[in-house]
Amino acid sequence: MNAPTPPPSDSTPPLAPPAAGAATKPGTTAVSSAPGAGAAAGSVDARKTYGVGDAQVHALDGVTVSFETGKFTAIMGPSGSGKSTLLHCLAGLDTLTSGATYIGDTYLASLDDKALTELRRTKVGFIFQAFNLIPTLTADENIRLPMMLGGESGDAAWIDQVVTTVGLGDRLKHRPSELSGGQQQRVAVARALASQPQIIFADEPTGNLDSVTGAEILDFMRRAVSEFGQTIVMVTHDPVAASYADRIVFVGDGKITDEMVDPTPDQVIDHLRNWA
């Protein structure tokens, strides 16, 4: 893999930009204006501590970071660096010990479970490493799941477009167990895109895939950012995967250690080698 920022493929149909910009979507429980104006999400002095006394572990040790709207950002770091914890806290899946995280202009700490649920459904998309899909629902139903949960049908034209782009054809009526790993991840990306969220969080989305299939998924994510103006934050430890991003944030021992803009795989590998 050596194509850093692959250009849009000619074979795919042109896609319209999202019907409504993330920022103009009506907020659900806007509490106060967030500090990072213009940022899709971010954290301020985020700390997360496990255990007590001598056994205390600082998974996050004062992380302040923001993620620009319409950009593809990768978070890199070795195992145990706190990169996944950061992502979970940013996404409202996990809570901080102190500090704050925000999505758009909403502080997550101020939300109760109901509001957080609403936020996840309408403003956040998720792509996990594995187990992204409900095994009992078909691919098509999985893509529409967030809208179905909200009792909405969503933007039909947009969903059709996303579904077409996934390129599963008649396999859309199949259950996840009948799809390959790559096909399953494409469905997961489509689901994240379908509700036109303000931001998509991806946790090692290609970690379980072979390099060719992984490249397909990353390509797909890249295009979602470049062509539809989607915002994506992705945790990865793969330099090649990270090189698809517009910007890389490096995390180590619960802190932000460095940043890189418009990376290539070689630059990333060099950076990691120096770091070690």
């Binding site: 998720f126 996990f128 409900i134």
Partner: protein, 848 residues
């Protein structure tokens, strides 16, 4: 919020997990089937008998019979057959048919009597073609004269008897022979409720059955344009005293009421066990839901992550349960109808001789089925659904977080439930607020709460107890045994929940066992000390023994004392009492009634022996007098001659002469007791007594030891019947262990794959799963035995001392239960162990 999406996901989930759905569904269906079956059976029997009696009574407009002063279960006094002629002369009367029912039994070619499977042997009179009492001809012509008889078609069929055959029959007054001229039935049925029937014409019946010109009743049909009420009045005017004329409708209703009373008791009994079965299924359903929520943890967390609210997740799980409950209930209703039909068929095959039964599925039955089926499912899912709602979204990525969130503090609640249940149970039994209803509600409800509590608390001791149970298994089976032991011990909560259903079943069996053993040993103690007689002769004809039996016995020289025991109902201060009548001089030698005051042998005419309880209730002492109104309207005054403490022969005893003075009915004996003379060799005595009783097959002679054994056997039978009724619940409990284990195997797919990869063979795999099942079922059985013994002891203590005076335990039953638990475990493991050993090793390891 969208109800549509919740329903969709729930529906898909049910469809995608057929095995599990089927298992839960089966548990619900079984419980509902039993409940529905009990209702349908009782309703159908009631409807059938009501219809039958209505049909039988449709030709009878009026009936003349002996009057009773108050309602008793006693037979009515017979009436003079001559009344029939007077009644026939009344204007408006078309047909009179005197009816008569006495003892008669067919004798086979081998000279032995033919005994029906379970019914009585009856001799009846029959008017033939003009008869209106419901006897219908199946084949042939009615018997006329002393050399002809008709028999019921059911007996004819089973004994290969045909019209034209000659057969002998035995009655109270001798043996007769006749030609079968007809086979008959009752209405449309071939049988008379399982009875063996000999029908003779009236004149022959009066002689051959030894009726002395007396009949039971006179059935009357009126001419077409007669007015029932005015004919009834006209007949009433010519009747002698202590006879009455009532409408056919009233007779049909009274007969139906008697049968309904029996059907109600029977139906209620079945229903209790049906509810126990449903209760046990609730444990299984709850456990399976609990486990599957754990298995679907990541899926549920993923739903939360993509925007499902906790409420939606809860609703989804609840909806799944609801849909399942509804489907299983519908299946259960169908199953229940089949169960009821099957039981009726089985009773019929056993000789009950039911007429063609209709199947009655009442609206009430369907409502109850829905309450039980959907109700237990919804109750079972409350806690699992709440747990599902607590799963945080992040569990989609870190399942361990989800399991931590689902863990609930059950111990405190369990201890509270256990103590509250135990307290309710004891208050219900000992304090009995609100009488019988309070007793049943509190004791029954308390036991249920206690079961829930113990099921919950038992998880705390599951680990040490199962380790002990597993020790010999590990010693015996090495590695597979050790794995089985570890697997049971590592999830104590699951072990205790899957054993809980079996625990309930075993507890009920053990409680019954303790109760029955105590009852048996108390009864034996009482009988041993009370009955000093050497021979007890009981009646097998359901008609009472003819006095000829006791007279014959009294003439046996080897016997020193013989007395029959007769009875009559009488009212004392408005309450109906049963008076036993004996020959006092003999009675004193035959029975030790624990005399407190007065004497037995001196019991004279119009004197009375009374038990201490009614004596103290009514302030009676030796010399007091009691006014009695007998059921036939005769009154008398009895003087207390003695007071005794043993109630084996009832609370009120009079002399035979007193009874003869007041009774207007022919004497029938319930039983006869006799004692060998001083120095007579028991072997000689036995020979003499059995020889003397040879001509009376309806009289069953037992020695004292045989009698005690037969009484014990009856109590054992009770224990067996209750165990059989609990078998359904226990079968469901075993199914529950099987499901839990299968789910456990599924969860450990990867682990089992790994073990197989490093060299465990199929046989060892099967073995480890099998012994895991045995340890779980042994655990359930042990807890059940402990709890059941406690319940049985409390129950026995709550029963009055004159019924249960000593506690007794039966180690053999406990041993049997434990052996049965091992077998149950092996049985439950059949499918899971097969599943575990037939995994594809590579696929298993690749499973996440």
């Amino acid at each position: 919020m969208s109800a549509g999406s919740t329903a969709l996901i729930a529906r898909k989930s049910i469809r995608a997990r057929w095995g599990r759905t089927l298992a839960i569904g089966l548990a619900i269906t079984a419980g509902v089937s039993f409940v529905v079956g009990s209702f349908v059976l009782a309703d159908s029997l009631r409807a059938t008998f009501n219809q039958l009696f209505e049909e039988l009574g449709q030709d009878v407009d009026l009936e003349v019979r002996g009057a009773q002063e108050f309602d008793t279960d006693d037979a009515r006094d017979p009436i003079d057959v001559a009344i029939a002629d007077d009644v026939a002369a009344v204007e408006g009367v078309a047909i009179v048919e005197p009816t008569l029912q006495r003892y008669a039994q067919l004798i086979g070619d081998d000279g032995d009597v033919i005994t029906p499977a379970g019914g009585p042997t009856l001799g009846v009179s029959w008017l033939g073609d003009d008869g209106i009492q419901g006897v219908t001809i199946k084949e042939g012509t009615p018997p006329v004269g002393p050399d002809q008889l008709a028999i019921d078609k059911a007996t004819a069929d089973t004994e290969n008897l045909d019209v034209g055959d000659t057969i002998a029959y035995l009655t109270d007054v001798g043996t007769f022979e006749g030609t079968i001229t007809a086979t008959v039935g009752l209405g449309s049925g071939d049988s008379f409720g399982g009875a063996q029937l000999v029908a003779l014409d009236l004149d022959t019946a009066l002689v051959h059955f030894g009726a002395n010109g007396m009949v039971d009743a006179i059935d009357i049909a009126l001419v077409d344009d007669a007015e029932q009420a005015s004919v009834q009045r006209a007949i009433a005017e010519i009747l002698p005293p202590r006879t009455e004329v009532v409408t056919g409708e009233q007779v049909a209703e009274e007969t139906a009421d008697q049968v309904n009373e029996f059907v109600n008791v029977f139906g209620t009994g079945l229903l209790i066990f049906a509810f126990i079965t449903a209760f046990v299924s609730a444990f299984i359903i709850n456990n399976v839901f609990q486990i599957t929520i754990g298995q679907r943890l990541r899926e549920l967390a993923l739903l939360r992550a993509v925007g499902a609210s906790a409420k939606q997740v809860r609703r989804m799980i609840t909806f799944e349960a609801f849909a399942l409950g509804v489907i299983a209930t519908v299946a259960g209703i169908a199953g229940g109808v089949l169960v009821a039909r099957g039981l009726i068929f089985a009773f019929d095959a056993a000789g009950a001789g039911f007429p063609d039964t209709t199947t009655v599925l009442a609206a009430r039955t369907i409502v109850m089925a829905a309450l039980v089926g959907v109700g237990i499912t919804m109750l079972s899912v409350i806690v699992p659904a709440r747990k599902a709602g607590r799963i945080p979204p992040v569990a989609a990525l870190r399942p361990e977080v989800g399991f931590a969130a689902m863990r609930a503090r059950r111990i405190v609640a369990g201890v509270v439930l256990t103590l509250a249940g135990g307290a309710l149970f004891m208050v219900g039994l000992f304090v009995r607020p609100g009488g019988t209803v309070g007793l049943i509600a509190l004791a029954g409800g308390g036991a249920l709460v206690l079961f829930l509590g113990v099921a919950s608390v038992s998880s705390t001791i599951a680990r040490p107890v199962t380790r002990v149970i597993g020790w010999p298994i590990e010693k015996l089976f090495k590695m597979p045994g050790a794995l089985a032991r570890e697997n049971v011990a590592r999830a104590p909560r699951r072990t205790s929940s899957s054993a809980a259903a079996l625990m309930v079943g075993v507890a009920l069996v053990s409680a019954t066992a303790v109760f029955a053993s105590s009852l048996r040993s108390s009864l034996v103690d009482t009988l041993e000390s009370a009955i000093t007689a050497d021979y007890i002769v009981t009646d097998q004809s359901f008609q009472g023994l003819s006095p000829v039996v006791s007279e014959t016995l009294a003439e046996v020289p080897e016997l020193e004392a013989v007395t029959p025991v007769r009875a009559i109902s009488g009212q004392v201060e408005g309450d109906t009492k049963n008076f036993g009548a004996v020959d006092a001089v003999s009675f004193e030698k035959l029975v030790d009634p624990d005399l407190k005051a007065g004497s037995i042998a001196d019991l004279g005419l119009d004197e009375l022996l009374v038990h201490v309880d009614p004596a103290s209730d009514l302030d009676l002492e030796v010399g007091s007098t009691v006014d009695v109104l007998y059921q036939n309207g005769v009154t008398g005054t009895l003087t207390v001659a003695g007071i005794y403490g043993d109630a084996t022969f009832g609370n009120w005893l009079i002399g035979l002469d007193t009874l003869e003075n007041v009774s207007t009915a022919p004497a029938r004996d319930f039983f006869v007791i006799g004692k060998l003379g001083e120095g007579v060799d028991p072997a000689d005595g036995d020979a003499a007594v059995f020889a003397a009783m040879e001509p009376y097959p309806q009289a069953n002679v037992q020695t004292n030891a045989e009698f005690l054994a037969s009484q014990e056997a009856q109590i054992n039978q009770l224990l067996i019947i209750i165990t059989l009724l609990l078998a359904f619940a226990i079968a469901i409990a075993i199914l529950g262990i099987s499901i839990t284990l299968a789910l456990g195997v599924f969860e450990r797919t990867r682990e089992i794959g790994l073990l197989r990869a490093v060299g465990m063979n199929k046989r060892q795999t099967r073995r480890s799963v099998r012994w895991e099942a045995v340890i779980v079922s042994m655990f359930g059985a042990l807890i059940g035995i402990v709890l059941g013994t406690f319940l049985g002891v409390v129950l026995s203590l709550a029963v009055p001392d004159d019924v249960i005076s000593t506690l007794a335990f039966n180690p053999m039953i406990i041993g049997l239960i434990l052996i049965a638990a091992v077998i149950a475990g092996l049985f439950a493991a059949l499918y899971p162990s097969y599943k575990a050993s037939n995994m594809n090793v590579l696929e298993a390891i690749a499973t996440e």
